[in-house]
């Protein structure tokens, strides 16, 4: 298209389509750019390219041998065929070699349904095997941590070895022996225990050789629904997927986001999902201890709010999404200003991922400390996220608690309040003192945004159905605010976001559409507040 090629790009033809890519791009990436997926095993964008699986070989016009597209750099004017006879035969041949020793474990293998070997063999493998020899049997090995290794299934792509060496920079896996006897192993009994990122090797293993003990035989891949979300375990905000079935979260998996977490997540966040599945949830609004429906509860609450004369105090926690926090702030202002505090636990140190320096498991063990700061909440409480509520416990005006379960607060918390409104997911002795106990959804059951430690606003989507008649916090607060201030009732999360964005210059001009599923940085992100 361009008459003048800038010297920084090259134009080549792949499968009869022209594509222009920056100099230094490999053929595989160039093909990706036009939507052609070349099958591969050992290549991974986050790791080095050893070109050893020999699956990605493509035919280049004029070359006697096939070229490994994960390694071969695109040159000007090359003509590349990924689906020619030679290339297809090559792939069929390599797949046959994989299946020579690969056990027929599909019925009992967790990877079934998301297995690259299944996928490629189904599309391009031989219809019938012709290996008559007994297969090599190696058995199962516990690698420590959460990882189980089925040696028979291993296709020796060495992604796991390279991940531990290059990204985790903790070389605990190696290839032992050579030739057909080669297999992955640890240093004898020293396994992956204590490695904070070892769970990632289960993600990158293309077959079911490395599997998660936690997920073992739990659910079939094709039964799972996958919802994009954001990890709530620390303020790094790794992009994740909620894999759900039967309205339960079965596992968390990282999503690619080169600005935040690359292709990885830490084991701490990965395994911290059971709390989302807990059943002891508030399911219906309680007005003075009596369960009612939303219309009654909201009407009653509004009239009490109008009557209330005392000042307001607000409590939230760093798990509340931006929309909730923003609405609470607005409500506080309506009640004549007053204290607005939040609590958030802290770890004594952080755990970086050496090979991908952007990803660090942060000290803030909750997802939205930045959001709380932006909306002007003050942090109270100790490093466990407890205490600090002395100032509000005996408040005699309007007390609004959003999210924070108050599990550590005393039984007389809020007992003196003129009006105590509690929006939360679970009950507690302190919460039972509330005049209004309103059930809200967790992050997994609603749409919303979190602001991570780098000042990046990221969206998450609902993967579960809310229990009972629980609603998102912004929905309830938005309805209240609409009555009190005459603003519009936000009927969707993006409208709620637009409303709260008006309150904070950091969010001005940002809309859900801009955020997409990779997020965007806030305006003038300040430096990370460290404590």
């Amino acid at each position: 298209m361009a008459d003048q090629q800038s010297p920084k790009t090259v134009t080549l033809t792949i499968d009869s389509q022209k594509v222009t890519v920056p100099k230094g791009t490999t053929l595989l990436r160039a093909a990706e750019a036009i939507g052609i997926e070349i099958p591969h095993y050992c290549y991974h964008p986050g790791l080095s390219s050893p070109a050893m699986c020999r699956m990605c070989l493509v035919e280049v016009e004029g070359w006697p041998k096939l070229a490994p597209s994960c390694k071969e750099v695109a040159q000007e004017g090359q003509v590349v065929f990924t689906e020619s006879d030679k290339a297809r035969r090559q792939r069929t041949g390599v797949l046959e070699f994989y299946l020579v020793n690969h056990p027929l474990d599909c019925p009992i293998c967790d990877q079934s349904g998301e297995c690259k070997l299944q996928d490629f063999v189904f599309s391009e493998g031989r219809r019938h095997g012709r290996g008559r020899e007994p297969k090599r049997v190696l058995g199962r090995d516990d690698f420590g941590g959460d990882v189980l290794f089925n040696a028979d299934r291993c296709v020796m792509c060495t992604r796991c070895v390279r991940f531990m060496r290059e990204v985790a920079e903790d070389e605990r896996l190696t290839v032992v022996e050579r030739g057909n006897r080669a297999i992955i192993d640890t240093f004898f009994e020293r396994g992956l225990d204590g490695s904070p990122f070892a769970g990632n090797i289960v993600d990158i293993c293309p077959v079911g050789a490395l599997i998660s003990k936690d997920f073992l035989h739990k659910a079939r891949a094709w039964d799972l629904d996958r919802t994009p979300s954001v990890c709530p375990s620390c303020s790094q905000g790794c992009n994740i997927t909620l894999d759900t079935r039967d309205n339960l979260v079965q596992r968390l998996k990282p999503r690619e986001n080169l600005e935040v977490n690359g292709w990885w997540m830490c084991d701490f966040g990965r395994h911290n999902y059971e709390w989302i599945n807990r059943g002891d949830r508030l399911e219906a609004p309680l007005v003075d201890g009596r369960a009612t429906g939303w219309p009654e509860a909201l009407e009653s609450l509004l009239s009490r709010l109008h009557e209330a004369s005392g000042s307001g105090k607000g409590v939230t926690w760093a798990h509340a999404p931006n929309e909730e926090m923003g609405m609470l702030r607005a409500l506080m202002e309506h009640l004549g200003g007053g204290e607005a505090v939040y609590r958030s636990p802290r770890a004594p140190d952080e755990t970086p991922l050496p090979g991908f320096p952007l990803l660090i498991r942060r000290k803030e063990l909750a997802p939205n400390d930045r959001g709380a700061e932006i909306f002007g909440f003050e942090r109270v409480g100790d490093q466990n996220g407890e205490g600090g509520l002395e100032g509000v416990a005996q408040h005699d005006g309007v007390l609004v608690v959003v999210g924070d379960p108050l599990t550590d607060a005393g039984e007389d918390f809020g007992s003196k309040a003129e009006l105590f409104v509690y929006l939360g997911t679970r009950g507690s002795p302190a919460a039972s003192n509330a005049h209004f106990v309103l059930p809200i959804t967790t992050f997994a059951e609603q749409e919303g945004t979190y602001t991570n430690v780098q000042g990046r606003v990221q969206r998450f989507w609902p993967g579960l159905r809310a229990p009972g008649v629980a609603r998102p916090g912004w929905f309830i607060l938005g309805a209240l605010l609409a009555e009190l201030s005459g603003s519009d009732v936000p009927t969707s999360a993006d409208r709620a976001f637009a409303l709260v964005a008006e309150r904070a210059p950091e969010f001005s001009g940002i809309s859900y559409k801009d955020l997409g599923n990779r997020g965007a940085p806030v305006n003038h992100p300040a430096s990370v507040s460290g404590d």
Binding site: R165, R172, R178, T186, R190
Partner: protein
Amino acid sequence: MSEARKIPFNNPGWAGNTGEFSLTEEEVRGHDYVGRRPPAGGHPSGASSYPYMLAKKDPDAPLFAGAYRERFDKLRTRYPDARSALLPTLGMAQELRGYLSPGTMDEVAALLDLSPAYVRGVATFYTMYNKRPVGRFLIQVCTNISCSLCGGDDVLNAFLNNTGTELGETSEDGLFTVVEAECLAACGFPTTVQINSRYYENVTPKDVPEILERLKAQGE
């Protein structure tokens, strides 16, 4: 056309097909026809190429103390980085201890600042590093193409029968382990057998009992 002249065999390591073993270990190792014997620790350029399995094997011997530490230090100076010294270091460790146990690999890894898993990966790649204890005499019989054409399998069987072992097993008295080896690069002298660090060439099944007697007598 003159007759092809047979050169007198002055080839150290050659057992000869006459069955006479008149060469002593000294003569085999040799020092009086190739310069001077290197100083203790060896010349740095070849510090690791000392006769192996000459010293008595001790699986608990301290690694890299005394003369061996000297050799390691000299060896280390020959390479720009520590990782390159790994193979000769593993060779030296095996010389002392007879085989590479997990503990040995751990110590070598600590010495060279590499991860133990990495050292394990490298050690298991190469055939010569024993991962388990072997007999006093590791008998490696070449059965590759050239020796196989000249009866290598018979020599292997002769060794197995005469030592009373199965392939890869150590004999009861702990003296002999017989394994198959790949081409030892002495194909013109079939069948070649490598016992510890010495090559025995032109071995026939008849020679085998004598060789074993000699080994036992040397009591090395």
